[in-house]
Symmetry: C2
Subunit: 292 residues, 2 copies
């Protein structure tokens, strides 16, 4: 990566995640906030119809519509499939204005603080993540799935990543998270400007990150109905160590269910509202330290 | 009121308010929990299709479908209109099993603790509310609108009331609120049992309650788009005094907007997700003390 020429900030990829959607509204009203001398910054409201309706999506999850095969498949005609193809035309490799970096803004009902969700170990992203997490202890770095073949919007750019902020309820605009997310975006844009000006110092840094190793569903009965909830001792304890034998669920009739793994893990997306339908009560990660 | 013979507990009147819906599931699995010697307790999942879909409603807000005229109007045929008529057949005055008291379980993204939302000043409800709030400081008592002509489900019974618990995100089952709500229900049922056995002592009590006096919408532009959010100093401060000149909103570009009223009020439903579409950023109440 020689130079960042064009950056995209996307919000409202999920229509009921208001933090990002309203930041896009703000940046559209005051574009000077996100302009920097050495590169261009675009904004995009990911799913306008879902945002208007106050829903995550109209027909299907837009942030699962970006498999290359799906983008090429003319038979896929749901609102989100069509929207994904349109977004690829605006931001993707085949567009005239291909962006070098995508920041996709999300929120979560889990206590994720300010989480950078990366898809690749690209050295540029690692250094950026190390810089941001060293400046703000609320910034966490998380690897969910390998970027190759990802169906996420961020996969339209080699340097695409997601920011998850929370806990914040769906359909709610929370001023505190709005301000923290905006500050993080400014730190990112300022870093990119320094990078272009070759002002990023070489340092021997380490980066602590959380590597996805699996997911756990809620205990369910034969009809698929949930029979247990996140244990109160685990609720809102994202990124905290979960040891074998620690309680993870509490059945409706009051019995604790222990974590049966064989090693310590670090759960994230604990009790994320949007993941009930995906069969995910939490994602498990391993804590790792990377020397840059 | 001589004797309570039949009580209904309703949950999931809004399909994405999981606390009540899963309590109904629990009580259906273990009915002995809500049985008492002197009266019968029914359970009802208010909006089954919306609960399955994880949405507040399918076509329209079920908890605004109970105007008497609407229940009699055969032309109203949305899913919720039909469901409201069915619920009236089960719980209402014309049913064979008319209930004497309805507990309708809701949750809110606002910091409402355990709120009893009453529609009438019926002495029985006032004494019950005083008893519950004296036992648990998280219990608040709130009057929203006069019961006469109410469109709420609770209006099917003279002794109908709503329990609002929160803050809890829509579409999330939170174990702590589940447990607190269940405990409150048990306290209510135990009180009703004592009432039937004439074991409620006469006391000179006072009841502090919050009387609805109006609502405030978010500042919006000419297209109806929200231009300001709840001020961080007001977020989650439900039932706390708001004085003239205190900040209530923060515009997207960072300017505080002050409360312009002439007297101290006590906001509730601050930043309730479901009220964005109703044009309500918060409800205002006045604090009042009633001598029983």
């Amino acid at each position: 990566m020689n130079q960042i020429n064009r950056v995209a900030i996307v919000g409202g990829t999920h229509g009921n995640e208001f933090t990002g959607a309203y930041l896009i509204k703000k940046f559209e009203q005051i574009p000077a906030l996100i302009q920097r001398p050495s590169f261009e910054t675009l904004t995009l409201l990911g799913n306008p119809q879902a945002f208007t309706a106050g829903k995550r999506y109209i027909d299907k999850d837009l942030n699962r519509c970006f498999f290359i095969d799906n983008l090429l498949d003319s038979r896929l005609s749901s609102y989100e499939d069509i929207r994904a193809k349109a977004i690829e035309q605006i931001l993707g490799q085949k567009s005239n204005s291909q962006v070098d970096l995508i920041i996709d803004l999300h929120s979560t009902t889990a206590n994720m603080g300010l989480s950078l969700m990366l898809g690749s170990h690209h050295p540029f992203l690692l250094k950026l993540a190390a810089y941001l997490s060293s400046r703000n202890s609320q910034v966490r770095v998380c690897y969910t799935q390998p970027e190759k073949g990802s169906n996420f919007l961020r996969s339209l750019s080699e340097l695409g990543f997601v920011i998850e902020v929370g806990p914040v309820a769906q359909g709610v605009l929370n001023a505190e998270w709005f301000q923290k997310t905006e500050e993080l975006i400014h730190n990112i844009l300022n870093y990119l400007e320094k990078y272009n000006q070759n002002l990023i110092p070489q340092t021997n840094e380490t980066l602590t990150y959380y590597q996805y190793v699996g997911a756990i569903d809620y205990p369910r009965n034969e009809y698929g109905e949930i029979q247990a909830m996140i244990h109160p001792q685990l609720q809102f304890r994202d990124y905290q160590p979960l040891n074998p034998g620690d309680p993870i669920f509490l059945t409706l009739d009051g019995k604790a269910i222990a974590y049966e793994g064989t090693s310590t893990v670090y759960p994230v997306f604990i009790n994320e509202a949007a993941y009930y339908e995906k069969g995910i009560a939490m994602c498990l990660t391993e804590k790792q330290v990377y020397s840059l």
